[in-house]
């Protein structure tokens, strides 16, 4: 995540973390529409295992064709299972289970699927990962160009986000090293009650340095380049907005990572009304406060994308 890419390559952003109900699907759908309206070709991918209903947020009926039809070779090309939406340049791909199964599978199938996704004609792929914390979800989050965490200013949501972030963080560190001893240390560090008394990432790096200086340097490099993004959803006050900055500071002190606070979306009853009508908020009520917040975040992401792929 955060790797440099050539300009003609599409950007893959994954939206995950938090817990069910924090607004990941709402933000994915509406941000996708905003990006399309800015003139980009966007494909939304529903990979929410717990509740794949991105289509509902887009006002699309449950799709007849899914990723499964491509994997099981009922259709020849992946673009045949893309569902059109009422927005020009915005397509939907569903099939959460199949996508994440493929991430779990051995390299051949995984590479084939990822290659097909990479070949889709789009500027942005937005993947709604849902609230899951499985290995395949973490891997998808880590392999994307920008992982976006959607959090609400509530203890449970923040706790779950940290849990997700910790899992993703340690998995990333684990993937970067080759020494068995160091991997064992990382596995131990994930559990705070570990016997090796490593309480946090800083102590982990210190412990790794004692046994393998080279691996410690690799880990430090990973920490430096791991830069996830944060959107705070359903904020009701200025104090809520500030929680985003506090989460950023806490992540800096605890993980040593730079978390980008992309922005916040205010709590707005119009969101509920639009979901009930199965109409995307940014189309149904573009002037609502929440729609404007989403639109602002999408513009920010698009301008960053245009300036550089690096997050």
């Amino acid at each position: 995540m955060g790797s440099t890419q050539s300009k003609d390559r599409k950007a893959i952003w994954t939206i995950g973390g938090g817990k069910g109900g924090s607004g990941k699907s709402f933000i994915t759908a509406n941000m996708g529409i905003c990006l399309s309206k800015l003139g980009s070709r966007v494909i939304l991918i529903d990979a929410d295992l717990g509740g794949a209903n991105l289509h509902t947020f887009l006002g699309v009926s449950p799709p007849a064709l899914t990723l499964s039809d491509f994997i099981k070779k009922r259709v020849k090309n992946l673009h045949e299972v893309l569902i059109p939406t009422e927005v020009q340049n915005l397509l939907l791909l569903t099939g959460a289970q199949d996508l994440l199964n493929a991430m779990d599978s051995k390299n051949v199938q995984k590479r084939k699927l990822l290659r097909s996704i990479q070949h889709l004609e789009a500027d942005y792929l937005l993947v709604d990962l849902g609230g899951g914390n499985s290995i395949s979800v973490l891997d998808f989050f880590l392999m994307s160009d920008g992982g976006i965490l959607v959090v609400t200013p509530e203890p449970t949501s923040i706790e779950n986000t940290y849990r997700f972030l910790k899992s993703a963080f340690y998995r990333r560190l684990r993937q970067s090293v080759s020494s068995h001893a160091v991997r064992t240390l990382i596995d131990g560090a994930m559990d705070r009650k570990n016997e090796i008394a490593i309480q946090n990432p800083y102590e982990l790096i210190k412990a790794v340095r004692q046994i393998n200086e080279e691996e410690a340097r690799k880990i430090e490099m990973e920490v430096e380049t791991f830069q996830p993004n944060l959107i705070l959803n359903q904020v009701r006050s200025r104090k809520d907005i500030e929680i985003g900055f506090s989460i950023r500071s806490a992540c800096q002190k605890y993980f040593g990572i730079r978390l980008h606070y992309l922005g916040y979306v205010v709590y707005d009853q119009d969101v509920g009304y639009s979901v009930r009508r199965r109409r995307p908020l940014v189309l149904e009520n573009a002037h609502s406060r929440a729609a404007q917040c989403v639109s602002e975040i999408a513009s920010k992401l698009a301008s960053r994308h245009q300036m550089s792929f690096q997050f």
């Binding site: 200013p153 509530e154 203890p155 923040i158 706790e159 940290y162 309480q199 946090n200 990432p201 800083y202 790096i205 430090e220 920490v223 200025r238 500030e242 929680i243 900055f245 506090s246 989460i247 500071s249 806490a250 800096q252 002190k253 605890y254 040593g256």
Partner: protein
């Protein structure tokens, strides 16, 4: 990656070494709010002991950086370390770090500590530490000098009516780079408590 005891005071408060007093004050307010024991952003990530260590480091960084002479000598000593390191160590090691000092059990200069509310006395201390005189605040906010003195002096009898006081406190807080809502809320709460004490 650095542990809290290896970070410079500037890193602890997440400000640049060229930060103004206002920026440091603002950063301190944010850090204090973030690493409060009940803060939603930290309780599930850090242990109580870790939070305490960070709080101590924040107070220490604030105390030194808000005092002109302490900050100057801190900068000088760290620049010296930096220069020395520059000659002896590879570039990636050349970041000045904070000397490990005992926690400020007895601070010489009064600081705005965790849990202390914004009352007149506190506002005055913060202003003085920033090296801003009352006249400058009066000019910047267009609030009468006398009124500012009454606010700082917590003069219950002379303070203006609530509706005006709120506006004055807001302006005063903004001129010092403080959170206006918090200042108004805590100052009024303080006044209420004081009035209760006086009331028969």
């Amino acid at each position: 990656m650095k542990g809290i005891d290896e970070q410079t005071y500037y890193e602890i408060l997440e400000v640049s070494p060229t930060a103004t007093s206002k920026e440091i004050q603002k950063a301190y307010e944010h850090a204090k709010e973030t690493f409060h024991a009940d803060s939603l952003a930290v309780y599930s990530l850090f242990t109580e002991q870790e939070i305490h260590e960070i709080q101590v480091a924040i107070e220490e960084a604030y105390r030194v950086l808000m005092d002109e002479s302490s900050r100057k000598s801190y900068d000088q000593s760290h620049f010296q370390i930096f220069d020395k390191q520059h000659l002896e160590t590879p570039p990636e090691m050349q970041v000045p770090t904070r000397e490990k000092k005992p926690p400020p059990a007895s601070v010489e200069v009064p600081v705005h500590v965790v849990g202390e509310v914004y009352r007149g006395k506190t506002l005055k201390q913060i202003r003085e530490r920033m090296g801003i005189d009352l006249e400058t605040v009066a000019q910047e906010t267009r609030i009468n000098m006398k009124t500012l003195e009454w606010i700082e002096g917590e003069d219950l009898e002379k303070l203006p009516p609530l509706v005006y006081l709120k506006g004055f406190l807001k302006g005063y807080a903004q001129s010092l780079g403080l959170d206006p809502l918090k200042v108004v809320e805590e100052y009024l709460l303080f006044l209420e408590e004081e009035k209760k004490k006086i009331a028969p």
